[in-house]
Symmetry: C2
Subunit: 240 residues, 2 copies
Amino acid sequence: MPNPTAAMLVIGDEILSGRTRDANMYHLAGALTDHGIDLKEVRVVSDDAPAIVAAVRALAAQYTHLFTSGGIGPTHDDITADCIAEAFNQTIDVRADARKLLSDHYEKTGRELNEARLRMARIPASATLIDNPVSIAPGFTVENCHVMAGVPSVFQAMVQSVLPLLSGGAPMLSRTLRIERGEGDIAAPLGELAKEFSDLSFGSYPFQNDGIYGSNVVIRGQDPIRLDTAFASLTALFPQ
Amino acid sequence: MPNPTAAMLVIGDEILSGRTRDANMYHLAGALTDHGIDLKEVRVVSDDAPAIVAAVRALAAQYTHLFTSGGIGPTHDDITADCIAEAFNQTIDVRADARKLLSDHYEKTGRELNEARLRMARIPASATLIDNPVSIAPGFTVENCHVMAGVPSVFQAMVQSVLPLLSGGAPMLSRTLRIERGEGDIAAPLGELAKEFSDLSFGSYPFQNDGIYGSNVVIRGQDPIRLDTAFASLTALFPQ
């Protein structure tokens, strides 16, 4: 049975302006691979409601799961929750369960649960909450869409909360051979090998630095024995 | 006049599997901001022809420019050039100008211009070449789509070759204030300020590490005087 598929939507001007280097995509990609869910597409859009709604609808329709990051805090530019409600044609309001999480937390820390912070309890009607052990304000899941924070430590905690609840397939395994030869020299035999093991995926990722160049050849698949067999053929083709 | 817009398409399984952390998106985002071109959307897709063709068509139609990275090397998984030709309904073959660049280069370095390397001279019929001072094999521009390599050093060199040829608008300027207070405490006055300066964009990017939390508030705009005025109001609102 093929693995479940996934897309990710990163929401926020800070990535598109070059201010911030993305960390969440890299983290989620690795976590999904380990869990046996195939990440097929990522999109990054700005804090713009029509762009967010359109991307959520397109990606949620096309893949088993959609994971979003960013835009669920208390400030004016945090519009993700409202956009998700619109994309799934749901109402959204401050919800008692989320409000209680926040009021308990702010009571303990002596801070005020003001109107801005209450925005973080705005949750679409049918959503289930995603636990946030780092800073309490929850993420949420609507249908197949998992809505998480943009701050990397919070994002990672939410991924850890939600991922065990999702069925995964066989984890995608990989073996990598570093070959210090030009890609042009290895391309023909490598292409033949990829054809011979057409049930596996072969990628060639060239590098060059400090005058050394070559390629990391990565074989991916779910069957460890096939992977070992293919890797043995690869190392025989390109002895170090 | 509004700035030209852009999208980026990152092509390659290695980002989606979590093997590689993207560097090209971060580099291009910064370079475009400096050049006065607004990066509006990024997509990452795997080495899958239908997915690449569909994304190229959608993004090239929607934005002034499309920049792609990855998939133009000599190995079997390098399918970008053929996908670009298909997306723009053009023929593609080994082209004399690109072939000459490669044959001159390999003659000098004593390596063989074999069939695999010749794949890097496959260029769509109407394309103009993008200079690659690092490893010679060129990128190319078809209509509004700029096709570049995935290896970061080569990608960056190609960006430097192509960007000066494109008209940019006024560079987007930004000022950042680090505020060590909870986002929930600054949200209301910040929202008011954002309304007052509605010609500028206000973003709040929370952080928390080592027990210190707060937010970087970023104001963006093209008019330096407006930006200074808004930044003065911001610092008055949140004195350090």
